[in-house]
Amino acid sequence: MERKLIKVRVNGEPHELWIKPNITLVDLLRNELGLTGTKIGCISNSCGACTVIMDGMAIKSCSILAMQADGKEVLTVEGLAQDGTLHPLQQSFIDHAAFQCGFCTPGKLMSAKALLDENSNPTEEELRRDMEGNLCRCTGYVKYIEAIMDIAQHPGKYSAKEG
């Protein structure tokens, strides 16, 4: 298979790679760039474990081709903490013991960030609706929702770091 050139920024780092055009974005992240924080739970766009942010939008990276990220900016869970400081959402997940097995956590963090970037003050209903695509089998979602709502209801916690 003829390889194609892709230029993509991932977590602020520019990459130019020759890749097989049939690979998905999650393959690019995990196998080509070694960013294994993004998980694969279904490869069918239905569990949300592979959620990353591309040009500001939360997307399921298992269900788009890597080539579709050409010229785009991609943020993964590895890019959330800056200069050794956790992102407020990460800190809130810890403070609320939001996760258990942790497998869906990276996807949840990215979905939550995309939502809060667009709507910093969602209602709980809006938040739950937005998180419908991120399945979790351990937590019953309770503490995840609490952790994200805590950030949403205390904008200072979020904007202080994020701007």
């Binding site: 239905s46 013991a97 996760f99 942790g102 497998f103 739950r128 419908e132 019953g140 979602y141």
Partner: protein, 787 residues
């Protein structure tokens, strides 16, 4: 609790940073130099002879390094159950026939996944379909297709229980009429009990298969070194001990040469406990190629080949006095085993034993059979038997209460056992928080005001459940080591696997509490079979009670050693000393202090280099020497029981039959909460899992084919399905638990399912005797009622 500094608090999890930064390593994240990728070719027939397999074209494909079929593993058997009565019955790969759709037939290792998949397409298999049977009752009929012949252990082969040192040799087993498991337990005189009852009721329930749907699919990385003969494995699992036993047993690799490495596991729920074909296949391919092999299953393979929960038909007959005293119970179970025995012999037994600590039933008969069918195998899932049985028993309890005009809560309280009781099998109820669970959950939910008062379409229901804390037949032992570090901190070595349930945090809390340290002062080396002492892990919820207790015992051992040396240094009696903040004090004179690192240096200098190492071990049921009998239920089962009482409040849309769970209250007796946030998380998670079980989860088959093997067609609860959940601590500390603690990860699910079922009945008076409570079942029932 004011008396404790570290336990009973919602301290952050020790695995926090790794899990929120994406650094937590799961087995699928492991990549090794020169690694190959493996794929499995699976049967597309429910029941067929394999006439021929031609792998020649696949072998020729560039990049393919190995192709294997059942020829490589012919005659080898493994299984969840491998006892004198029930020999292991599962081949690693199909031999001369396939018994279910999804069974492994061939496997390929290649330089990348695309090549491996392409190679699978090139394998030609000639099948000759034979009649199949999918329903366990049809399977038991005379003349039904026989799935297996007589199971004769290979000459000289020891069964697993024999290898584990406590049982005699396996006999051969002939599954006449496809019956592959049976249980017959009883005490008292059931017929006499029924004769003395004023009221008898009999109901039959159908509980379907459900899937664990761990977010992390199953898989393995195996790395066999052909020069040393060592095999390294990274698995998605619940404890390496049974995994490496079966890899050793099936492939002949000495167990001491198999190392299970620490990884995080993305959920388990009982579904990753047993050994799997794909793990043995990955190890075999690695040995064959001399290269590391990664083998991961796609989500549809997880649904079709890694075992669902056990589907049961449950018939319950109960005899009760007018005043509500239960006189007798007779249970008859029919288990749908699938193509191999799976955990069904255990499940049939647990259906009784998981619930025997709840009600005082003087006369009881518990019978069950499991039949082979041409479907995938079935296995433990969070509660293993408890949730199936609880659904049936607790629903019937409510109908009896209604018929006799009793309040369901009072009816239950009247029939409970008592703290201190000795069960018919000799288990003792040293702790028994169940009455308190019921009282607290009834109070918190305002049960008395609401029951029967909520108006049309709304209802409230109660159910109770119990759970083992490890068992005499698993885990056998768990052990821990703690070493002193030169800065006064300690390092704990314990091989429990972190699959979300939180031992990496809670066991460090126990150690910190005992040694007067902070949790941050306890380093942890965990989940590795070479770095840590033996640990048979968290099965049957033995994690806290058995394994974490071994960590506490290691801390107690180390503390004694520290105090002994400190006593020598301070010229005091050890009893006059106490530990706190990496120091030892004289209780009466807090100025007299030696630090842990001073004690360590002193010990090394004056005591022949003794670096102070604490050791702890623990057996689940200390007094017993032999396993209980699965088929007769004799022998002790567990050393402590946990309990849950749950109340659910629901609304049922009478136009559509759709149920919405509005609020769940769950009161749990876990002995003592070690980490309150983790405890709440376990109860919330089980509550929401229970919503799925009660309302919509069911693995569906058509002619043996799983028709909903994905997250679109197999629904699990999502963020919007979640109601309000109130968790209540109703703990009764157990004298044998670490600081009184018992399990909290498994008990509640069953009670929650039962409470929802009972709430839906309260709302609709529609008697649905099968799970899940699909809207159409309720709708149909409502319509029948109006007509």
């Amino acid at each position: 609790m004011a008396e404790y500094r570290v336990i009973g608090k919602d301290l952050p999890r020790k695995d926090s940073i790794e899990k929120v930064t994406g650094k937590a390593l799961y087995s699928f994240d492991v990549s090794l130099p020169d690694m190959l990728y493996a794929k499995i070719l699976r049967s597309v027939y429910s029941h067929a002879r394999i006439v021929n397999i031609d792998t020649s074209e696949a072998e020729k494909l560039p990049g393919v390094k190995a192709v294997i079929t059942g020829k490589e593993t012919w005659g080898i058997r493994f299984g969840f159950v491998d006892t004198p009565r029930y020999p292991a019955d599962q081949p690693v790969m199909a031999e001369d026939k396939v018994c279910y759709i999804g069974e492994s037939v061939a496997a390929v290792a290649a330089i990348d996944e695309d090549t491996a998949n392409e190679a699978l397409d090139l394998i030609e298999i000639e099948y000759e379909p034979i009649p199949a049977v999918f329903d366990p009752e049809e399977a038991m009929n005379e003349g039904a297709p026989q799935i297996h012949g007589e199971q004769v252990p290979a000459p000289g082969r020891k069964c697993a229980w024999q290898d584990w040192g406590v049982a005699r040799a396996a006999r051969s087993f002939n599954p006449v009429n496809n019956i592959g498991a049976a249980v017959n337990i009883g005490y008292g005189d059931t017929e006499k009990g029924f004769a003395e009852a004023d009221y008898i009721r009999e109901d039959t329930f159908v509980i379907p298969r459900t899937n664990h749907t761990c977010m992390e699919p199953h898989g393995a990385v195996a790395n066999y070194n052909p020069f040393t003969g060592y095999l390294d494995i990274w698995l998605s699992h619940m404890g390496y001990e049974v995994k490496r036993y079966w890899i050793s047993k099936t492939l002949g690799i000495p167990i001491g040469k198999i190392r299970g490495h620490k990884v995080f596991v993305g959920g388990a729920f009982g579904g990753k406990a047993q050994a799997f074909d794909y793990e043995i296949i990955a190890a075999l391919l690695s040995r064959k190629t001399g290269r590391p092999v990664k083998l991961f299953l796609a989500r549809d393979e997880v649904f079709t080949s890694t075992n669902n929960s056990v589907a049961l038909k449950i018939n319950v007959k109960k005899g009760v006095k007018k005043d509500g005293t239960i006189m007798a119970q007779h249970v008859k179970l029919i288990g749908d085993m699938g193509a191999y025995r799976g955990s069904v012999p255990v499940c049939l037994f647990l259906c009784h034993s998981m619930r025997d600590a709840i009600y005082n039933i003087p006369n009881l008969t518990h019978e069950g059979v499991g039949a082979y069918t041409n479907k995938s195998t079935t296995m433990s899932k969070r509660g293993h038997g408890s949730q199936q049985m609880t659904t049936a028993i607790e629903a019937q309890m409510d109908w009896i209460a209604e018929d006799l005009g009793l309040d369901p809560a009072e009816f239950r309280l009247k029939n409970l056992r008592n703290k201190g009781d000795i069960l018919p099998n000799r288990d003792r109820l040293n702790s028994y928080g169940l009455p308190d669970c019921i009282k607290k959950v009834v109070e918190a939910s305002k049960w008395k005001e609401k029951r029967g008062q909520l108006g049309p379409g709304r209802g409230i229901g109660l159910a109770v459940s119990s759970m083992f804390n490890g068992s005499g037949y698993w885990p056998f032992t768990c052990a821990s080591i703690i070493k002193m570090n030169h800065d006064g901190t300690v390092t704990l070595y314990n091989a429990q696997v972190e699959f979300g349930q939180g031992p990496t945090t809670t066991m460090c809390q126990l150690v910190a509490e005992e040694l007067g340290l902070e949790v941050e002062d306890v380093n942890l080396v965990d989940g590795d079979s070479e770095l840590c002492p033996v640990d048979y892990n968290n099965w049957l919820s033995g994690g806290m009670f058995v394994s974490c207790k071994s960590a506490l015992r290691a801390a107690q051992d180390l503390k004694q050693q520290l105090l002994k040396v400190a006593a020598e240094m301070l010229e005091e009696d050890a009893e006059a000393l106490q530990v706190m903040g990496r120091r030892v004090y004289i209780k009466s004179d807090l100025q007299e202090v030696v630090t842990f690192d001073e004690i360590l240096r002193y010990s090394i200098q004056k005591h022949d280099g003794d670096p102070l190492i604490g050791k702890g071990f623990n057996k689940a049921v200390p007094e017993i020497e032999f396993y209980p009998s699965l088929s007769k239920g004799s022998g002790r089962w567990t050393d402590a029981y946990s309990f849950t009482a749950a109340v659910a409040e629901v609304s049922v849309d009478e136009e559509t039959g759709r149920t919405k769970v509005d609020h769940i209250w769950v009161a749990d007796d876990c002995g003592r909460e070690i980490n309150t946030a983790i405890c709440q998380g376990q109860l919330q998670g089980q509550s929401v899992m229970g919503i799925g079980d009660a309302l919509f989860e069911e693995v569906m088959f058509s002619e043996g084919r799983t028709v909903n093997a994905n997250f679109v067609d197999y629904e699990i609860p999502r963020a919007l399905d979640v109601s309000q959940i109130t968790t209540i601590d109703a703990s009764d500390p157990d004298p044998n638990g670490p600081f009184g603690a018992k399990e909290i990860g498994e008990c509640a699910r069953a009670a929650v399912i039962g409470s929802i079922v009972n709430a839906v009945y309260d709302a609709t008076k529609v008697n649905v005797k099968s799970l899940p409570l699909h809207p159409e079942k309720i709708f149909r029932g409502l319509r029948e009622k109006t007509n």
